[in-house]
């Protein structure tokens, strides 16, 4: 495999240092302001309180985080596993392009947050309703990006394969699939954070555990530091999952060539 290496020269290090410093200053201002203006902790806790809460509740946050991560990953994998074949069918069948595709676009326009209550009614309080929510959020970007990738196969390459008398199957696997990969990876990068949102929304509407559930409980009992700690955990989870996609996506190094 060929890697496109990013230069980690002094510029990158300096950029990171500057970013970190800026963040530190902001957190400092936040901390001081809470003291200065005597903001009540249940409205906005100081960063130190959030940090303390993160430490104290680390076991709880971890457990709920694992649950949410499971929901997100299942929903995401389902979106990829179903999205690819659906995109392929739409790409190859003009009937599907005329029927399935407009229907999908229409369904995509339904605010999915509004669907959450009925999804919970249908699939219960457990894992499956969250998986479905994560799936609903992630599915469309996967389909659209895969479809765009398949359609973006250069015409001159198709002609070349025709001249070489490649079968339809060979053209698909040896040309269209690799040509579609960069766009597909981009779609996954969009889909993964959306899947996190989907799972959290699902947990908000009806759940017994997960970070979304924890946020609701903490806020309900005015444990605002825990709310923030859970939010931070969700953010870290989302970032982590995004970077996993990003790193896996580097196997598709020919995107920019």
């Amino acid at each position: 495999m060929k890697k496109v290496r990013k230069s980690n020269g002094p510029g990158a290090v300096r950029g990171f240092m500057e970013g970190a410093l800026f963040l530190a200053v902001l957190i400092g201002i936040w901390e001081i302001s809470i003291d200065l203006f005597e903001v009540k902790a249940y409205l906005l806790p100081p960063p130190s309180a959030i940090a303390a809460e993160l430490w104290v509740s680390r076991g709880e946050l971890f457990e709920h985080g694992i649950i949410t991560m499971g929901e997100v990953l299942w929903g995401f994998l389902l979106a990829v596993g179903l999205g690819i074949p659906v995109a392929a069918v739409i790409f190859f069948s003009s009937l599907a392009k005329r029927t399935l595709y407009p229907l999908m676009v229409a369904l995509q326009s339904i605010p999915k947050i509004g669907l959450a209550p009925i999804i919970v009614v249908w699939f219960g309080y457990g894992l499956s309703s969250k998986v479905v929510m994560a799936f609903l959020f992630a599915f469309f970007p996967v389909v659209i990006s895969t479809l765009g990738g398949l359609a973006s196969t250069p015409a001159n390459m198709e002609e070349h394969f025709r001249a070489l008398r490649a079968s339809a199957l060979q053209t698909f696997w040896r040309l269209r699939v690799p040509a579609a990969m960069p766009s597909f990876v981009d779609g996954c990068k969009v889909a993964m954070p959306l899947a996190v949102i989907g799972a959290i929304v699902g947990e908000f509407v009806g759940s017994n555990d997960g970070l979304g559930n924890l946020i609701l409980l903490a806020t309900g009992s005015s444990n605002t530091p825990l709310t923030f700690a859970a939010l931070l955990t969700v953010t870290i989870l989302s970032l982590g999952l995004f970077y996993i996609v990003e790193i896996l996506g580097r196997f598709v190094w020919w995107r920019s060539t």
Binding site: K2, M157, E159, R162, A163, R165, L175, W254, T257
Partner: protein, 264 residues
């Protein structure tokens, strides 16, 4: 000036069985007439170049011969078979080098063989020899984006050559190359052609190249393209760029073709 028989009428051939026969081929793209009753015959093992102004339909004519685009009128036969779809006997070099960006030089060279597993597969020695011929030694594992434009073009030429097809259709294969590499590959192509006895149709913009390589040069008109002249190149073989160019006949042909192409 030596009187040359350069004004033979179009498409009157008495050669052995032709490798490619084009009879009254017409081609429209929508309302645009690109080819107008093209007639041509290309004998087995003949080397024929096609010259013509840009946009006159040279690439289109080559695609017709390869069965890559349908045509509205006329007949085209290739090795005694009416052309309907691409044939396994044809190697095609496109005007743009169509390399797979995710495959290295070796994989790109082997693409044709890999797509047709029933055909005889080139062995390691053949690949090494081809890479050497193309002047790409040391770049076997490079990817297209790591090659220069000319190198990419050479890989594309190798893609067509490696299966040693009976008919080689080449669309300006050397257009992107510098004069030296071009001369080198011209010589290599002549060697391959002489050794493997194949039929070659070469579209080119270079009058000198067409004279150097060909048995015959077909000159096409402005669009809608038709073959307006068919000039036999009676220069002795084997030819070599520097020597053949010194031949007084070479100058005569060049002058005549230049006049036809409106550049002299």
């Amino acid at each position: 000036m030596v009187a040359l028989d350069m004004s033979r009428p179009v498409a009157v051939q008495a050669e052995s069985r032709p490798a490619i026969r084009i009879e009254g081929a017409c081609k429209w793209f929508g309302d645009l007439k690109v080819l107008d009753t093209v007639d041509a015959e290309i004998a087995d093992c003949e080397f024929v170049s096609i010259l013509g102004p840009s946009g006159c339909g040279k690439s289109t004519l080559l695609r017709l011969m390869a069965g890559l685009v349908p045509y509205e009128e006329g007949n085209i036969t290739l090795l005694d078979t009416p052309v309907e779809s691409p044939s396994g006997d044809v190697g095609f070099v496109f005007q743009t080098s169509n390399l797979l960006p995710w495959a290295n030089v070796r994989k790109n060279l082997l693409l044709a063989a890999e797509l047709d597993r029933k055909a005889s597969q080139p062995d390691e020695a053949a690949i090494v020899a081809m890479v050497e011929t193309l002047g790409l030694t040391g770049f076997e594992d490079s990817y297209p984006h790591e090659l220069s434009g000319g190198m990419r073009h050479r890989v594309a030429i190798g893609q067509a050559l490696i299966r040693s097809p009976r008919v080689l259709l080449m669309d300006e294969p050397f257009g992107a190359l510098d004069a030296l590499t071009r001369d080198h590959l011209n010589v290599e192509l002549l060697k391959i052609w002489q050794k493997e006895k194949k039929t070659v149709v070469l579209v080119t913009h270079s009058i000198a190249e067409s004279i150097l390589l060909s048995d015959r040069v077909l000159v096409m008109s402005e669009r809608p393209g038709r073959v307006i002249r068919d000039i036999r190149i009676d220069l002795p073989r084997p030819r070599h760029p520097s020597e053949t160019r010194k031949d007084p006949l070479f100058g005569e042909y060049a002058a005549e073709l230049g006049r036809l192409m409106g550049v002299a």
